[in-house]
């Protein structure tokens, strides 16, 4: 078994097959429903609309009828940060340790009762994966009945974001503990979005475990901060060295190119030697 230097540590990650994603939005709603995400009367101002999982629509920029579109689901990337040591852009800036990197799972946590709402993490996150509770979350009368006790509803004035459904991990671990198993099975811990996706476009698992599907799909390079060796796989803004744990796969070159910024001519050079550029 290949393991990284953290020994038996997990490194949970997600792979999204963009060629299968249809942009249907199930993942978004499954996430909202699982995580007690509030809603308000007008959610069309997307910049203050809390969507831990947001599906972006991107286009190839060509005119009719050469136009192509692709949907890109964007949860929290659970960045490992520079060198993949856990100094995620957000974790390293949070002044009150309200968001932290869990080395045993690779998950970036958010402690709502610790956060005092300075929003520095939001500025630091290039993916806009973090959301601020500008409003008191309010549910129409009676609807608070569907709130799940697994995730505490947030209060106004704090930041929230995708947790990779951490409570499901805890639950799976608790079950394994009760059943006296050392570890959890791949299928025991799946995020709500993965589970709901009707297209099967989302795969979730342990990037440190070669038996897991996510590992086999992207072949993360342990010596290169988990950069995918699969030439069809990429991470968003790879060049910033945020080292996200969410990978995307697409057969379409323009989609892979849209994953990062490239100077003129750069893409032509890097597109084919993907995963081999051990600088």
């Amino acid at each position: 078994m290949k393991q990284d230097k953290h020994g038996k540590n997990h490194k949970f990650g997600m792979v999204v097959d963009l060629d299968k994603c249809t942009g249907c939005g199930s993942c978004m709603v499954a996430c909202m429903s699982e995580n007690n995400v509030p809603f308000k009367e007008d959610e069309s101002r997307k910049k203050d609309s809390i969507t831990w999982m947001r599906v972006y629509k991107i286009t190839n920029g060509k005119s009719f009828p050469e136009t192509e579109i692709c949907y890109m689901p964007r949860p929290c990337m659970h960045c490992g940060g520079k060198g993949d040591h856990g100094h995620s852009p957000c974790v390293s800036v949070c002044p009150a340790v309200a968001t932290d990197y869990d080395h045993s799972s690779g998950i970036v946590s958010q402690i709502y009762t610790r956060c005092f709402g300075c929003r520095y993490c939001m500025g630091a996150c290039p993916y806009h994966a973090r959301y601020f509770n500008w409003w008191d979350p309010k549910w129409p009368e009676g609807m608070e009945n569907y709130l799940s006790p697994d995730v505490s509803p947030r209060m106004r004035g704090v930041v929230e974001k995708c947790s990779f459904c951490f409570h499901r991990y805890q639950e799976a671990r608790d079950r394994a503990y009760v059943e006296e198993r050392d570890d959890i099975e791949e299928q025991e811990y799946q995020t709500a979005c993965t589970q709901a996706c009707p297209a099967g476009a989302i795969t979730f698992g342990d990037l440190n475990n070669p038996d897991h599907e996510v590992y086999q799909m992207v072949e993360p390079d342990a010596h290169n901060c988990g950069k995918p060796k699969n030439p069809k796989a990429f991470r968003l803004l790879e060049r910033l060295q945020t080292n996200p744990k969410v990978y995307y796969i697409s057969e379409r070159e323009w989609v892979r190119k849209a994953g990062d910024n490239y100077l003129e001519g750069e893409w032509e050079k890097v597109k084919n030697n993907h995963g081999n550029d051990h600088e």
């Binding site: 800036v93 500025g123 601020f132």
Partner: protein, 414 residues
Amino acid sequence: MDSALIPKGAKRCPFPVFALGIAVVGVVLLWGVYAMGLCWFKGLNQTNMDDYYGFALWIWADLAVIAIGGGAFFTGLLRYVFGIDELKNIINLAVVIGFICYSSALLILAIDVGQPLRSWFIFWHANVHSMLTEVAFCLSLYFSVLTIEFVPLILENRKLDKVPFFHNLGHNMHGVMAVFAATGAFLSCFHQGSLGGVAGVMYGRPFAFREGLLVWPWTFFLFTWSAAAYGPCFTLCVLKMFEKITKKKLVKDNVVHLLAKISGWMITTYIIAKIIDTVYWATVTAPSQGQTFMDFYSNNPFYGVWILVLEIVVCGIVPAVILTTQKFRENRKLLLVAIILGTFGVCLNRWVMVLQVMAAPVMTFDTWAMYIPSWQEVATTILPVAYGVILIALAYRYLPVFPQELELNADQQD
């Protein structure tokens, strides 16, 4: 009416005129307080900030007042540590301005955070790797230093000075002021730097990110340097305003010119460093992240190269040239132009390092985020200005802020 409190021999406007002025500004202050109350009791939905613009007008105001309040630490450093004695004639003003600026900054921060009642978590649960933690610690400690520096001036009030305890306390504090000033300079260097670091460490934001030295990005040093350089410009601006309003000369020209000259050379060195930084960032740092210089200055309705030209050339090189050239800085009008441009320039720099950072897209499919502050944000930003005007007016009326005032206005004395 309040003549017993007015420094001996100083001429001040009649109390009703003064009170009327304070009342007018007080209305503005109350407007700000009302907006502040809205933000505290209804939440930050009162602002036009959003998830793309988590840092906006307030953080800019914070950075700007701290930068222009930098005159206090730098003048203090020159006066007490480097022993430039002439500056004692302007240090009081610098300290009062510093006190106002820093207390304003703390107030704005208390409005800006989503959970003000938890803001002490930044101390208690401190993340020592966060620039903001460093800012919070140094800012609050330096604010206590400024308070310590302000206290002796208050104790010099004619009435208070009659109390032996206060008289002695003021005297003794003066005695060890160098220690406080040195500590303050140390703290100030750090938090000015940390405020620069706030932007510079965001390696997910190519517009802001800078390489640097050890844990500090170049913006850390640039912010400290620019605050030291431009802070005195603002001190001089306030002095000029005072002289205009009171129609009196309050500080001798040699003191003004000395401070202007020091500021000029600081700006010169700063702007050279800033140009080097900008060139390196534009040609090395940003391209390594796949972004070209023009990516940051195009495809949006506001931010163009003009803002960089304005900051570096108009508000950097121009005041530097004026202030370092004796002939220019001794020309009253040019001096005024230079210190106003300088003050504006450092504020603009802080604007760019907060708002343009938030505006520039990073993901290829993201778009520029634009933002216009709500009236509540504007009111709460004007609130400290009104508070500052009132405080500085009170200080001028009742405290011997300008030691040379009586000498320069001997003919007007009662």
